[in-house]
Symmetry: C2
Subunit: 207 residues, 2 copies
């Protein structure tokens, strides 16, 4: 009888191993030479993969540097968000944080990535750009939850409101991330950090 854990097939395991090898190679090269002085061919040579396959995996030159696109959050996480009754912005941030943590990135790759982001802000901007792609979907999600709790808003009002909620959440995210990394790195603390960040925003916008 096979093990109960959903063991990945050979294909999946190969793919994962390869992905990590390429990401690691790309990050090392970028940290050493700077992003602009690294070519896809260099990455491919270093990680023993064909350029064509590289693009099949990552799509763009920067793909291996900024990591996989944030996956659509789990159905269960979404459900939880929709039915939660905490402060909206905090619940949304919790959703974002949890779906990020669910990707369980390699620790060393994660650290290299952060170092690189600090050195090359353009990359971080790129990643943000990609997140904006999810923007529409996220706004819809927030609107769905608002519809259940505040059904007396017009479409436009609701959309504005949802956009603002998302902006607040995304804006507070870097601060939460910094706290999380520097203070503990413990997942259970995330909720507290989120609360803290939102409280600061409240002070900022208080008259």
């Amino acid at each position: 009888m096979p093990t109960a854990t959903p063991v990945l097939g050979l294909r999946e395991r190969n793919r994962l191993r390869r992905t990590r090898r390429v990401e690691r190679a790309a990050l090392e090269l970028a940290l050493e030479h700077g992003v602009d002085h690294v070519t896809v061919d260099m990455i491919c040579e270093a990680s023993d993969i064909s350029p064509r396959t590289y693009f099949n995996y990552f799509g763009t030159k920067e793909g291996a540097l900024i990591g996989p696109a944030p996956s659509v959050p789990d159905e269960s996480l979404i459900e939880e968000f929709l039915h939660a009754r905490g402060p909206l912005a905090e619940d949304l941030m919790l959703l974002m944080a949890r779906s990020f943590l669910a990707t369980a990135p390699d620790r060393d790759i994660f650290v290299m990535r952060r170092t690189l982001y600090a050195r090359e802000p353009a990359l971080q901007a790129l990643q943000m750009t990609r997140m904006v792609g999810k923007r529409q979907a996220t706004v819809e999600l927030v609107m769905r939850r608002m519809a259940e709790q505040l059904p007396d808003l017009t479409e436009t009002e609701a959309r504005d409101e949802a956009q603002l909620v998302m902006s607040v959440a995304m804006g507070a995210f870097p601060v939460v991330s910094r706290l999380w990394i520097e203070e503990s790195g413990d997942e259970s603390e995330v909720e507290a950090y989120i609360h803290e960040a939102i409280a600061r925003i409240r002070r900022i916008v208080s008259p």
Copy 2:
């Protein structure tokens, strides 16, 4: 005696005229065919300019679509911001709005741009990306003002705080922009719209 207005030299005027011609051509093409199906060569053909010159002007294919990078705000505007004593986030938004308005973009180009953004969110993301380039500078600015008013913060606290202020301001910006365009388009109203947007954020983060 020459006129009192600082009349531009022939060079400047040519450059401005050319820029607008290219931007208009690029926007028309993008609105008609979609950004991906427009090539730089097409834009150059339509606006009677050499591709090399195109890149000298705009740097990237999208440059003509998203418009010139937001210039560093006027010294006088910065001074005003630093010494204003209104709510920090609102003053910052006012600074942003005023330095945008100072660029006095063509009305029709402005409208085309907005239409295109709505149709192709990736472009808007790009523009946001470029703004992030100014992020560092803006954070410094906010910190300078905070230093005068709240001198008892540690460096890290101050930086977090400044980042949050900027996030709030940038997040609220689209809403203000929408209000401004749809409601009146009158510059004198901007302040009221900003106030309104901040008030909404306050409600959002209120427990």
